[in-house]
Amino acid sequence: MTFVKTLSQKAWIWSFVGMFAVWLATAVYTGGKGSADVLTAALSFATFTVIVGIGQMFVITTGPGNVDLSIPSTISLSGAVAMKIMDGSNAMLAIGFAASMGCGVAVGIFNYILIRVLRIPPIIATLSSSFLILSSAIAYGRGLKIKPPPLLADFTTAQIMGIPVLAIVIILLAAVMGVVLNRTMYGRSVLAIGQNMRAAWLAGINVERIRFFTYLLSAVLAALCGFLLSGFSGGASLNMGQEYLLASIAVVVIGGTSVAGGKANVAGIWGAAMFMFLLVTMLNTFGASAGIRLIMTGLIIVAVITIAGGDEPQR
């Protein structure tokens, strides 16, 4: 009983509860037909949301006002650059990957310069940089209809017993990032800055260096997502990052990370990403029209956040 109680106090558990609830509802409705396939699909698609969600989580955790809105355009730029450089050739895979990471590093540095040197609030800085990044992608990516190298396409769509290989890799990545968050000085510093930036600075933490690494991390993960996503979906497109703007923030919040900063959870991101996908699937299965679907999605997300946000009152 105490186990259930401690578990129910963990904000992240609710995203998994929600996930199983909608999955069960779908399975019951269809009489269990194809419910395993639905899980496979959910894992496949959630993977990409999780990649950017982790980066967004670190950014949000550094405190109020910190958010990375340039994730969608970074995904597009990275995908476009990688596809064009690789030009469908397996031999160029490593170079394409390096170019993609290079995009991420460049975006991260650029975002941080806007925030630090020009002192623009992060929300505006990353929004405006996202226009610049997307414009670069448009200018660069004239030959967007390039197929990914077969090796990349195979890797991103491979499955072992119904479990996508990529999902396994990203589960490992999430585990590593969980350790980074809780057990390294970098992660500790991110949490401390999010709770009390001035106290962190007075305690001798190099706040600006930590923020720099955080925006860099977010951009690099977005670039990674762009690279893998264009392999998964058979090529890059300019609007392929679009849906990840709100999704990256939603999974962080539903996953039990505090928007006020200083409190983060990696595991919850996985639950939340699966939940978001399964929710839409469920509503589709029920035959809900697009309008109803959006309304229901909104309402259910609000409900989950309200329940999960039932934090023990502070003091």
Partner: protein, 258 residues
């Protein structure tokens, strides 16, 4: 008023010479010089806004001086930020108890200087063990090691802040209103701690506006008013009325009050 007990003329631990800092035309600290010897407690007195906290924040690295110089053990020190101050073994306990609320006591104690395992991971067990050791010395009643510090009382938070300063071998300790948030029992604890640290040869700047605290705990007192130093006196040579008139009138005892 330079009749101090240090007639042997040793090198001061800290000398702040001719410090100035202005915020938008307001001279918050205006040509102030103070010093501190090993094993000594110097009180900084004054009204709110007299400039005592601002003066000391130039030593702790929270502010950069416009002019003036800081000497540590007789050598010129360059303090640009709190990290620099720490490298000179200057530790500060802030009035606002600068703690990260959702982290536990041990995490706060080691904030920015975490103990790590050989692989570079934060070693929580070692940090908690060390915290228990230092807390057993400072505040034996302290038990809440696993809870976030937001769940602690003012006095318990204060012990965490003090433990942080003491643990890292402070040579120079700055205490900004250390007893302002505390009950009588905890205030007593802080007083005993100050005596203990003094005996270990640590120099302490104690910022306060409670004259009785200063008379009880300090060896000397420097009084500030409107950003200027009124004077530094040996507390054995003055009464509380003398100190009060320095604070209010800005006159040293002996000078005719205007």
């Amino acid at each position: 008023m330079t009749s101090t007990k240090r007639t042997n003329g040793g090198t001061p631990l800290v000398e702040m010479r001719d410090m100035c800092i202005a915020f938008g035309g307001v001279h918050a600290v205006d040509h102030v010089s103070v010093d501190l010897y090993p094993g000594e407690v110097v009180g900084l007195l004054g009204h709110n806004g007299a400039g005592k906290s601002t003066l000391i924040k130039m030593l702790s690295g929270a502010y950069q001086a416009d002019s003036g110089e800081i000497l540590i053990n007789g050598e010129k020190a360059d303090i640009q930020n709190p990290r620099d101050a720490r490298s000179y073994n200057i530790e500060t306990i802030y009035q606002t108890l600068a703690l990260a609320d959702n982290l536990d006591a041990a995490s706060n104690l080691f904030l920015g200087r975490e103990l790590v395992t050989p692989l570079g991971f934060v070693d929580e067990d070692a940090m908690e063990a060390e915290s228990r050791k230092i807390m057993a010395r400072l505040n034996p009643n302290f038990q809440k090691f696993a809870e976030p510090v937001s769940a602690l009382s003012g006095g318990q938070r204060q012990s965490v802040a003090i433990a942080r300063a003491v643990y890292f071998d402070a040579r120079i300790l700055i205490m900004d209103e250390p007893t302002a948030a505390l009950g009588p029992h905890e205030t007593q604890m802080v007083s005993e701690l100050i005596q203990q640290l003094k005996a270990e040869g640590i120099g302490i700047f104690l910022i306060s506006h409670d004259i009785h605290d200063v008379l009880e705990l300090c060896d000397r007192a420097s009084v500030m008013k409107n950003g200027k130093l009124v004077g530094t006196v040996d507390v054995d040579d003055v009464t509380d009325d003398d100190l009060l008139s320095m604070i209010i009138l800005g006159k040293k005892p002996g000078e005719a009050a205007a």
